[in-house]
Amino acid sequence: MPFIPHTPDEQREMLATIGVDSIEALFEDIPKKFRAAELNLPEGLSEMEVRQKLEKTAAKNHTDLTSFLGAGFYDHYIPSAVDALCSRGEFYTAYTPYQAEASQGMLQAIFEYQTAVARLLDLQYANASLYDGGTALYEAIMMAVRHTKRSRIVISESLNPIYRVMLDSYTTNLKLDLVTVPHKDCHTDMEAMLAALNGDTAAVIVQNPNFFGTIQDFTALFDKARELGIVSIISTYPIMQAILKTPGRMGADIAVAEGQSLGLPLSFGGPYLGIMACNKQLIRQMPGRIAGRTVDKTGQTGFVLTLQAREQHIRREKATSNICSNQALCALRALMYMSLLGPKGLKKTAQTGIERAHYAANRLERLPGVRVINQPFGNEFTVRLPVRAYEVIDKLLDHKFVPGFPLGRYYEGMDNHLLVACTEKTTKQCIGIMAELIGGAL
């Protein structure tokens, strides 16, 4: 049998030691009436057969598309060293570093990851990772609710709608009041947001760049929130954070992000990486693992999991979160990615995406009836077309082009709006073809 080392002789020896005469005898505790009949599963395949089968399955996915899809999930180049390093078995076949002395590699890496995230987002602390950007937002809300003992949450409609529907599901059974403030021409409506804050509000949530790609400054909003004792939460895009005003500088209390852009493939939706950083006052409300630096008996520096009294294995039903397994290997990839690019490489990556997106916006605006809605934007922007966006997408799919995401899917009255993303992988030539194809489809 694959992966089972025992020879028949060894099995017999082991059974003799146990004092039973068959493996079947080991399962006698399971009542006869509950015993399973033979499973209706296919026969096992050899390794070669499995690989051949799944090569065929993979080939059924179209990978020859030229895509301008983003919507919070971006196709960035991943340096080869990330895969080479991350695939070391010492990392990926270990588990949560419960025994610190035998897990210093992972613990130090978590500590370095926390540091890199805290520096990128300009806040004091970060945790070791959460599942994804959406669940990180949910956890941020719960931090704010515990901290303020209030239950009203003010959310900008320009927050990624994929996350907004997740928040709706997660809060169904909790006594929370989610208030969504409509966007204004793809911008977060600052006046309406300010007016929505009050003394019962636990948290205010915005995104930068927002779902439409618009970049804004939320300093004034967060100032007002602080006056009212409200926790300010901002969802960010890590690559853009290389150049954009930081959550810390704007006065955010918690910053979260989808970390996929930092060296993780799109991989049909996961595994991704929930990034979370917070300021000092909220550290004891933060969910998830946290590594800390300390010393051993001889005074030598080392790392341990710390502040564990917040966690489920100690607090049980009173824990800050139920999270146990996280996305450690994804966090490690993000750390490797940030380490390989450094501040300069990350900035260039951001700038190249911005440059391509502005080129694309220019090309598209030359088409009759096409207008770019938001300003300023980074590597993603919204255009209004003279026809329905999905019709244009449908026509371009025939040419193996995906020109963007149809905003009408989540926003009423925006059926003609298309969300277009570029990264450093997008070439000007492809942008030119895409613009011509859209021109032909109008």
């Binding site: 089972i4 030691t17 059924k60 035998a102 890199a116 520096t301 999270i323 397994s325």
Partner: protein
């Protein structure tokens, strides 16, 4: 070892992306830009490679060491699953593609993987339908409890509490509480749920019971049949924590027994790597009466063999993940199940239980095994006797590290004093198990003669015992180098 920030030099860089051509910063007003670049690591590529290579060597892992960490099923992670999952045909697919009108045919391979995996897990567990969206076991638990709430709300049942045995994983009560339920804990008797105790706390407000079987002591719950009847008697739902499925695959299907909800840990039972703490995957299976409440989207197979994403489930609990779960992990588990097939799945459980009982029998002469009976895939021992001589479970765990073994889970479950929980899995050879026991015996032999050598362990690791109190008090959670 120095941190990567301590090793940085200003102006150095690893990977050099091309210079952008335009003056991009003119596109964004200055007040929206950050004033200083982030102080990320600045090293040449080779120094980044060396840094992480050196870090990796400081870890014990399944690839390098026996890892009998109870309740975590640290079995061998076959390498071919990595190769399968690394194919660009899977890694490069944007998750929004199948949601675009007209692009449904462009991700048929990925949707097939999801659909087929759901079918296989359904057959293995006897559940009616699965969602693969939960991204870890605890996430599956939360999803499961949300399904419970949706069921009871839909039926107009007034339910306020969930029963959790005191031997349960800490994630169980935490998940129940997060979903808005009160947690009622019941005490174990002889290591098992006592149906009489259960009956005492049972009333119409009980939404359900969360349990794992075999339980965290590695014992099969003898009162299972009565427990199922009792819970169903108050229209409660039975939740199965699948952390321990490796004990019963092919021997018992939890759906046949009457469980309504089960979460699996693909990173345990189905051999996907644990990644130093994740990513995992925690699919949730349900009985027929809960199918309508599963999260959306769901993958459906049409008569012509095409797959599509279906959102039309008005009773669904909604979205619990941005997309379809940890696809890369699901893919590895799918490849593993295809490799093992009908017979291999059963043999995995059989040999896991064989190994655990062999280890138990060999250890019981040296370490107290409080529940002296056939165990399933894992068992607990107690170092209470040794603790009287000053050698605690923690000390024994640390001494095992010096012998080149990772430690068993310690101090869990909470109901056994000085607890050590061993789970050898089916992939470890008899020689490995014997070597481990010999080393354990040698350590225990020193309790009388040289307790200090155990209390001071480990001495051969990169660091000795670390000051956790200092870590928690000082809260040095980020590096200040280079600031």
């Amino acid at each position: 070892m120095k941190t990567i920030f301590q090793d940085s030099a200003k102006g150095r860089a690893g990977v050099w992306p091309k210079e952008p051509r335009g003056n991009t910063e003119a596109d964004i007003p200055a007040h929206l830009l950050r004033s200083d670049p982030p102080r990320l690591p600045e090293l040449s590529e080779i120094d980044v490679v060396r840094h992480f290579t050196r870090l990796s060597r400081l870890n014990y892992s399944v690839d390098s060491n026996f890892y009998p960490l109870g309740s975590c099923t640290m079995k061998y992670n076959p390498k071919f699953t990595e190769a399968v999952a690394a194919q660009p045909g899977f890694t490069s697919v944007h998750p929004l593609i199948p949601q675009l009108k007209g692009a449904g045919n462009m991700t048929q391979g990925a949707l097939e993987v999801l659909y087929e995996t759901e079918q296989l897990l359904g057959e293995i567990t006897g559940m009616s339908a699965f969602t693969l969206q939960p991204m870890a076991g605890a996430h599956g638990e939360l999803t499961g409890v949300m399904l419970m709430a949706a069921y009871h709300n839909d039926k107009g049942n007034k339910k306020t509490k969930i029963i959790v045995p005191d031997s349960a994983h800490g994630t169980n009560p935490a998940s129940a509480a997060i979903a808005g339920y009160d947690v009622v804990s019941i005490a174990s008797k002889d290591g098992m749920i006592d149906p009489d105790e259960l009956e005492k706390v049972l009333d119409d407000e009980v939404a359900g019971l969360m349990m794992t079987c075999p339980n965290t002591l590695g014992l099969f719950e003898c009162g299972l049949e009565r427990i199922v009847k009792l819970i169903h008697g108050v229209d409660g739902l039975l939740y199965y924590d699948g952390a321990n499925l490796n004990a019963i695959m092919g021997k018992m299907r939890v759906g046949d027994v009457g469980f309504d909800i089960v979460h699996l840990n693909l990173h345990k039972t189905f051999a996907t790597p644990h990644g130093g703490g994740g990513p995992g995957s925690g699919p949730v299976g349900v009985s027929q009466r809960l199918v309508d409440y599963l999260p959306i989207s769901r993958v459906v197979k049409l008569e012509d063999g095409q797959y599509f994403l279906d959102y039309d489930y008005p009773k669904s609990i909604g979205y619990i993940a941005p997309f379809y779960g940890n696809f890369g992990v699901i893919l590895k588990a799918y490849a593993y199940i295809l490799r093992l097939g009908r017979e291999g799945i059963v043999r995995a459980s059989e040999n896991a239980v064989l190994a655990a009982n062999y280890l138990r029998k060999r250890i019981e002469k040296h370490l107290e095994v409080p529940y002296d009976r056939i165990c399933m895939h894992e068992f607990v021992a107690s170092a209470a006797r040794q603790a009287e001589k000053g050698v605690r479970a923690l000390d024994i765990a640390k001494a095992l590290l010096d012998k080149g073994h990772y430690a068993p889970t310690i101090y869990f479950p909470l109901i056994v004093k000085e607890c050590l929980m061993f789970e050898p899995t089916e992939t470890e050879s008899k020689e490995t198990l014997d070597g481990f026991v010999d080393d354990l015996i040698e350590i225990l032999g020193r309790v009388e003669s040289d307790a200090a050598s155990i209390q001071n362990a480990p001495v051969t690791m990169p660091v000795q015992r670390l000051d956790e109190v200092r870590a928690a008090r000082n809260m040095e959670l980020v590096d200040d180098a280079g600031l």
